[in-house]
Structure formats: structure tokens, C-alpha cells
């Protein structure tokens, strides 16, 4: 499988899709907290200035206002960095939005480690765990531009709160323009017998590359992409547990309660298999360019392949014994 990268970043697609949806849905409103050129909501602002609301640097207020508008029938997209949605305004998201199931679509920009040089205060590798723990909130991490766009169309068709990640990253292309995102549906991108590598967001590309490396040494790795963390594709996960009996997950997130945690919760209940998790540990962030961060925290194809290899070797030894 050849991997090719988009020249457009996910955040750019986010901004462009907002414009596209704004045309179709007159009740769509975008709210900002002084980050519109970073988060790319500026594109919507330029096109629909009357439906763009600037809240200043006040994230609690941003989500409160978004909730009030939603209560009056608008579909609101309050936009800020993932850190400020999932940490700074969490209580507002919970009490005023999640609980009453208001139609608020929360884009977490600069998610995971993609705030790069901004360092710890802006990086947010907890958002998936946090949002997964809230009631009623759907939690999504798109793999590429096509998926992000399709996801945004899907959330307009489904009332209720959604949290979705928007990375400041050019992603590898996993899908094509006809890709159809569905809540709770994952995708088996590559078949394999020995182990399944699970990815979410743009990190699935690392899993694909690792599978290529493993292939070279005779290990057959399946690759599954999980864009919808809640609801999650339990069926796919259980099927792969039966088929390969060993999992490695990789995510742009800490290894507590994120993709790895969600998959572990399911396989433990339904069909226990050995599972290794790659992601950020209980660690501080360095402020650095993305390529340095990925290497520093060992979130590379080589590192993933090494974990998978060890797992498969153990499994083969156990079967032989």
C-alpha cells in the first residue's frame, strides 16, 4: 500500500467544510475565542460574517453562548484549541451542553501534540479520555481530509453534542472523495493474520507504515482505523480479536482512557487478547516541531513495528509450546 500525503492540512479542511456547510445550513453558527486564523474558522468568518460570533479570550463564555444559541435552534460550532475545550471549559461543556444534549459541535483544534512548539499548556493529549467520560458526547478523530469533511456533514444530520479533533497536520490520505463517515463505524484498511494495528486520527498512517515494515520480515499485520471513539465499532474490534489474537494501538494521545483504553475495555469484556498501547505516557510535553516530538516519544513506524514484532513473537512461542 503506497502512502501519500495531502498538501492541505486538516485544519484547512475544517475551515473549508464550515464554509460549505454554512451555505447549506442557514442555522449554522461559528463561534471563536480569538483563534480564528489558527483554527481556520476565519474562512467562515469572511464568508458569513453575520453568523460568526467573536467571544474574545473567554472560553467558558464561548461554550455558554454556544449553548444558549443552540437552545434556540441554531447548530453551533464553538471553536478553540482542544486544550481549552477539554480542560478550560469542561464544566460548561458538561453542564450546559452535554447534559441537555444541545446541538453543539465542538472542534478541538491543535489536538494531541499538534500544538507542537506551544508546549504543555496548548497541547492536549487528554481530550479523548475526558470527552469519552462525558455523557451523550460523540467523540471523533478523523484520519484524513476526506474523513473530516464527511464527518462534519454527518454531524449536521445528527442532533446532539459532538467533540471532534482537528489537527494542525497534513495527514496521509486514507480514503478518497467518496468516503462516507458513519458514527460508530471503523475501517479495516489492510487485512492481516498475525496482529491488528489500531490507529485513530492521523496516526493510522503510522500503523500503515509499520504494517509495511512488518510485511518485509514476514509478519502479517492488519490495520484498523477507528475514527469514531464513541460510539465505537465493537463488532470490528471483536472480529479482529478473533482473527488475529493480538493488538497494538497507536494514538496522538496519552495511553490512559483514549483509543487504547477504549479497545481494552471492549476486548476484555468480549474476547480478551493481548494488547499493547502506544501513545504519550505519564509525561510532560516538550515544545518542539512535530517530527521531533514523534521521534522523541517513539511514535514512529519503527517503534510500532518493534512492539508488534515482540507481541507476535511471544504469541508464536505460546502457540508452539
Amino acid at each position: 500500500m503506497k502512502i501519500s500525503f495531502s498538501t492541505k492540512s486538516l485544519r484547512e479542511t475544517f475551515g473549508q467544510t464550515l464554509v460549505e456547510l454554512g451555505e447549506r445550513y442557514k442555522q449554522l453558527i461559528v463561534l471563536d475565542a480569538d483563534l480564528n486564523t489558527s483554527a481556520r474558522t476565519v474562512l467562515f468568518k469572511e464568508r458569513y460574517p453575520d453568523r460568526f460570533i467573536q467571544c474574545g479570550i473567554a472560553e467558558a463564555n464561548l461554550f455558554g453562548i454556544a449553548a444558549g444559541l443552540a437552545a434556540q435552534g441554531y447548530v453551533t460550532f464553538p471553536s478553540t484549541f482542544a486544550a481549552f475545550a477539554a480542560r478550560k471549559a469542561l464544566d460548561q461543556v458538561y453542564v450546559n451542553i452535554a447534559y441537555p444534549k444541545l446541538d453543539v459541535k465542538i472542534a478541538g483544534s491543535y489536538c494531541g501534540m499538534t500544538a507542537t512548539e506551544c508546549g504543555p499548556s496548548h497541547n492536549c493529549a487528554e481530550d479523548l479520555a475526558i470527552m469519552r467520560a462525558l455523557p451523550h458526547v460523540k467523540v471523533l478523530d478523523p484520519g484524513d481530509n476526506y474523513e473530516l469533511r464527511s464527518m462534519m456533514h454527518a454531524m449536521m444530520a445528527e442532533p446532539g453534542p459532538v467533540y471532534f479533533r482537528v489537527a494542525k497536520v497534513n495527514a496521509a490520505e486514507l480514503f478518497g472523495p467518496d468516503h462516507n463517515f458513519e458514527f460508530g463505524v471503523g475501517h479495516l484498511l489492510r487485512e492481516g493474520r498475525d496482529v491488528t494495528l489500531f490507529g485513530t486520527g492521523f496516526m493510522t498512517a503510522v500503523a500503515l507504515a509499520a504494517a509495511t515494515l512488518l510485511d518485509r520480515e514476514g509478519i502479517s499485520a492488519a490495520v484498523a482505523h477507528i475514527p469514531s471513539l464513541k460510539p465505537i465499532d465493537e463488532e470490528l474490534i471483536v472480529r479482529q480479536a478473533r482473527a488475529t489474537g493480538a493488538f497494538v494501538t497507536i494514538e496522538n494521545h496519552r495511553v490512559f482512557g483514549g483509543l487504547g483504553g477504549a479497545v481494552a475495555e471492549i476486548v476484555s469484556r468480549e474476547y480478551p487478547v493481548q494488547l499493547e498501547m502506544l501513545g504519550l505516557g505519564d509525561t510532560v510535553f516538550e515544545a518542539a516541531p512535530l517530527q521531533d516530538l514523534l521521534r522523541h516519544y517513539e511514535l514512529t513506524p519503527h517503534a510500532l513495528a518493534a512492539r508488534a514484532r515482540a507481541l507476535v513473537t511471544r504469541k508464536r512461542r505460546a502457540t508452539a509450546a
Partner: protein, 307 residues
Amino acid sequence: MTRLTSELHQAIDAKAFAIRQLCLEFITCAGWGHIGGSFSEAELLASLYGGIMNVDPQNPSDPRRDMFVLSKAHASPALYAVLALSGFFPRERVFSYCRPDGLDGHTQRGQCPGIEYSGGSLGTGLSYATGLALALRLGDNFASRVYCLLGDGECNEGQIWEAAMSAAHYGLDNLIAIVDYNKVMAKGKLSDLMSVEPLSDKFASFGWTVLECDGHDVAEIQMIFHRAKYLEMKGRPTVVIAHTVKGRGVPEAEFNYHWHTHAPSIEQAGQFLAALNKTYGKQEKFSRPLASPKDGGLEAVIFGDLA
């Protein structure tokens, strides 16, 4: 004062009494609830739902209605009471307060007619009200207004000031905030714990028109809200700082933070009703025999199952 207004005022005073009595009944039955902040807001709510706000119990979702946000959502009993007494839902329903499938301890949007806002976390209501007021603007609805009732202790919360700043920035003259300035928060007096003085200067410096009134004097309340609705400056939100007494009506509970959150025993409830009757020159009786539950907690559940 014309005879008509004085009749109106008497009706509102009567409703305020009825609010207090009903709160006392169902808080006692639930074994939980906020007496102090419910009693301090009684005349304000009776006035808002007694003609100041444009609401229709028969059509509570009328798009042309005025909207009410109880940011101090712990004082939901008085709101449930005024809604029930105004015919938004059957009076009986308030007795489901704090029971499974019943009315929540704090207001939850859509849980019963007339409740617009899910709250309980202090500080969040004024932002939400700002969102509602913006929505009216965007929808070219110039008939409706949004009213938002804040606690005075709640004004410690920074989000109140974020919302205040933004509502002024947007020029939302369809937004009227009210502060139930009862001088007491959960565990003591504001002046001891965290003062918000000078409160009117604060709102003024955040770009609001500030009005003040006695929050138990129905005539003053009426007058001030008429000013807020019709006479105040265009292009600015207005705040009414209503000076009130926490626990108003029951001398033992007045200014007494012990009765911020606390349910009276059946016996105490009887004493409280007697005190209310005395304060307001009434001779009301409870509408039903009161009974309060006991929470056996974890112990009851475990020993129940083991038995």
C-alpha cells in the same frame, strides 16, 4: 397608586407567599433543598411571572415569549413553585423534586415546561442568557427579552464577568440580569467570605445600565422593571440589583447561612409555616400531610441484598 395596581401588587404578594409555602412543603418532603435563596427570590419571581415577563403557561414554547434563566439554579424550588402556581404544569409535580424521574435539584432544561436552562454549576447562566439574547437578535425577534437571575455570591465567578463584558460588547439591550443581593452565600456573609462590593460600580464599569431596588417590595420591583424594559438606554444590557434578605419571611432563617441548604424536619416545617403566617399576616395550613424520606445509603442496599 391606582386600585388596579394595588390589586396587582396584592396578587403578587399572595403569590410570593404561596411560593414560600409550597417550597417549604416539597423541600421538607424531599429532605433536601435550598430554603434561603428560594425565599429571597420569591417576590422577584412572583413579579416576573406575574406580568413583567411575557410568558404563556398554555404555550410555554411560544417563539415570541420572554425567556428566564435561573443562573442560581440551586434555588430551583421557588421557580418550580411559581411555574406550578402559574399553571405551567400540575401543582402535584413539584413533589417529585429530588426523586428518581422527578424534578432535579437544579434546573434541567426541558425537564418540565418553562425551564430553559440546565444549570447547577454557578456562574454559567449569564453566558447562556447572552446566547439566548443573541439568538433573538439573529432571528430578528425584537419582541422578546431574556431575564437572568444571579446570586450575589455567584458574582464571585469570573464567568459572570466574561458574560457581562461580552453582552455589553454586543450591545444586548434585550438582556436583563437581576442580582438577588441577599448578602449571604452558602457558608457565610459575602462581606466576610468574598465581597462583591461595590457591585453597581462593577456592572457599570462592564458597560451595563444599573438599577437598584428592594427585592421584596413589589411596587418597587414593578417600577424598576418597567424602567428596565422601556426607559433605559438602548444598546446596553441592564442589571437590576435587588436588595433582598436570605430566608426572608422566617426570622430564624433570615441572613442565616445554616438555612442556605438544609431541609427542615417535619416539626421545623410547622414552625416555619407559623413564622411565615406571622410575618405575612396569614393563617395558611399545609396542603397535605408532610412526610420526609430517610436515605439508608449504602448500608441499606447491602444489608437489604444480603438478607
